[in-house]
């Protein structure tokens, strides 16, 4: 459950991240691949080495989707329906991996925002990412 203050915070944070979407997204992915190497198994079709074109492009897509979700928190299911179908029928990522990526997004935000990533902001983003992942995994079965 997100309070109105939390929803505001979430929108603010992702608005700030949009201009540097490529940087944030690719860093989060790189952190995930380095800390949890098994996650690389889903990307054998891409060059996911540090600073690669694929990594930057993919990272940007993800942050843009997150920002879109943040702007439409009350209608996440409908907003994310195409992405949800994609993750269920094409990508078929084991759902435990969403948590690993969410953690790496949070670490990336923490590195970039420092003390501005307050405990309250951390809680709001954690809840948002959980809700987002739940929608992405909704159609799995």
């Amino acid at each position: 459950m997100l309070s109105n203050t939390e929803k505001e915070l979430i929108i603010q944070i992702w608005e700030k991240m949009l201009p540097v979407a490529e940087e944030i997204g690719s860093e989060a992915l790189l952190r995930m691949f380095t800390t949890f190497p098994k996650t690389k198994t889903y990307f054998s079709h891409l060059d996911i080495s540090a600073r690669s074109e694929h990594l930057r492009c993919h990272g940007k897509k993800i942050v843009e989707a997150l920002a879109e979700g943040a702007r439409n928190i009350s209608t996440l299911t409908t907003t994310l329906a195409p992405l949800s179908r994609f993750h269920a029928y094409q990508l078929r990522i084991h759902p435990t991996n969403f948590k690993l990526f969410n953690h790496c997004i949070i670490v990336t935000l923490a590195c970039h925002m420092g003390d501005n990533f307050t405990p309250v902001a951390h809680a709001a983003i954690d809840k948002f990412l959980s809700a987002f992942s739940a929608v992405l995994a909704e159609k799995f079965r």
Binding site: T34, V107, C111, F117, P119, V120, H122
Partner: protein, 147 residues
């Protein structure tokens, strides 16, 4: 037996050298109690934990944060045998404190996030990986004595 490369040992020691136990300990435990409110069930004797402001100002949370980091230091000093170093601590968490081990991962993640806010770009993906490997071994050792 866990294998540590020289780079991993250096990375982990490097992170520790930069930790102010009081500040990082307090904030890690605070975040755990704020981000994952069900963890408050284990701190009934700590007084007011009703909201983020109260938790951040709570002196018992601050004191306990230091205890947690001192415990981690023990693991750092015995990196080649964390399992046995933590045997009695694990038993204590399972028998006396009755903590669901799933929660160890939550505090571990909060600690990583606090370190990220302090070290910022210095907390590179490689250093994060080494640090999280260390915490994974710690969490595993703490979870062993549950029967």
């Amino acid at each position: 037996m866990v294998e540590w490369t020289a780079e991993e040992r250096a990375a982990i020691q490097g992170v520790f050298n930069k930790l102010d136990y009081e500040s990082v300990g307090r904030e890690s435990l605070t975040r755990c109690l704020v981000v994952y409110p069900w963890t408050r069930r284990y701190f009934g004797g700590f007084g007011n934990l009703f909201n983020a402001e109260a938790i951040m100002a709570n002196p018992k949370v601050a004191a306990h944060g230091i205890v947690v980091l001192q415990g981690l230091e023990k693991a750092l000093k015995n990196m080649d045998d964390i399992k046995n170093t933590y045997a009695s601590l694990s038993e204590f968490h399972s028998v006396k404190l009755q903590v669901d081990p799933v929660n160890f991962q939550l505090l571990s993640d909060c600690l990583t996030v606090v370190i990220a806010t302090r070290l910022r770009t210095e907390f590179t993906p490689d250093i994060q990986a080494a640090w999280q490997k260390f915490l994974a071994v710690v969490v595993s050792a703490l979870s062993r004595q549950y029967h």
